[in-house]
Amino acid sequence: MGNAVQQVDVEVQSESQGLEAIQKQVLDLKAQLDSLSKNVAEDKLSMIVFSGDLDKVLAAFIIATGATAMGMDVVMFFTFWGTPVLRDKGKSAGGKDMMGKMFGTMLPKGVGGVKLSQMNMGGMGTMMMKSLMKKKNVASPEQLIEMAGELGVRIFICEMSMDLMGFKHEEMIDYPNLTYCGVAKFLEEAQNSKVQLFI
């Protein structure tokens, strides 16, 4: 009789040990799943807009707006020569040092001031391209930026470029989804994006 009780005890004990082991395994698996799902790429496009040329900016916004139509989440990071593209023609900022003033004068003030990367021919090429685009009904960069805003494209501007070129936040365009950031923010977004582009 005593023996039988002992045996049942042992069985219960080993059963509960088995349960514990399974529980532990389940928890381990859950943790693995969590870390895996964190690293799964989303239907997202992360784009760096490094260039400040009319043709490249145009391409960047066409891809961005097209991607939203494809149901993708879109983030654009403007850095270096891409930064002045997002200045607002009608705004100005004071309190700049000499270098800041110089950059401010020499770099395009907004997307209306950018030039073609090739065949600019002292501005004549850019002018011709713009009139051709109008004739062919191609959306202007201004229109594309506005559309991108409506479609929920998020724009990030590199704070370091802003600082380097002496641009102030108050002279940038009004855009519904504009944030200033550093490289880590881009990498965070790029890491889980299926598509990444550098333009």
Binding site: T68, A69, N137, A139
Partner: protein, 79 residues
């Protein structure tokens, strides 16, 4: 072949890339699921773009017609 009845028509003629795809993705949200929109474009690029968009967005192109430089898509909203 029986004619497809569209619940909504989008005139996208004269619009180049990326407008046809952008507008059709907006326009399809204006009908209910399983309803059909008719999208009319004059952009030859949309012959490749519309199927790509439909596949990615999970909608179905029922029929594509081409006539005198005008392309007519009948698209069923599925998603």
């Amino acid at each position: 072949m029986e004619a497809i009845k569209a619940d909504k028509t989008l005139d996208l003629k004269g619009l180049p890339c990326p407008m046809p795809v952008v507008k059709v993705s907006k326009g399809i949200k204006e009908v209910e699921i399983d309803q059909v929109i008719e999208a009319v474009t004059s952009d030859p690029g949309s012959l490749a773009d519309f199927p790509a968009w439909a596949k990615t967005s999970g909608n179905e192109i029922l029929k594509t017609e081409q006539e005198d430089g005008v392309i007519r898509f009948f698209i069923k909203r599925k998603a």
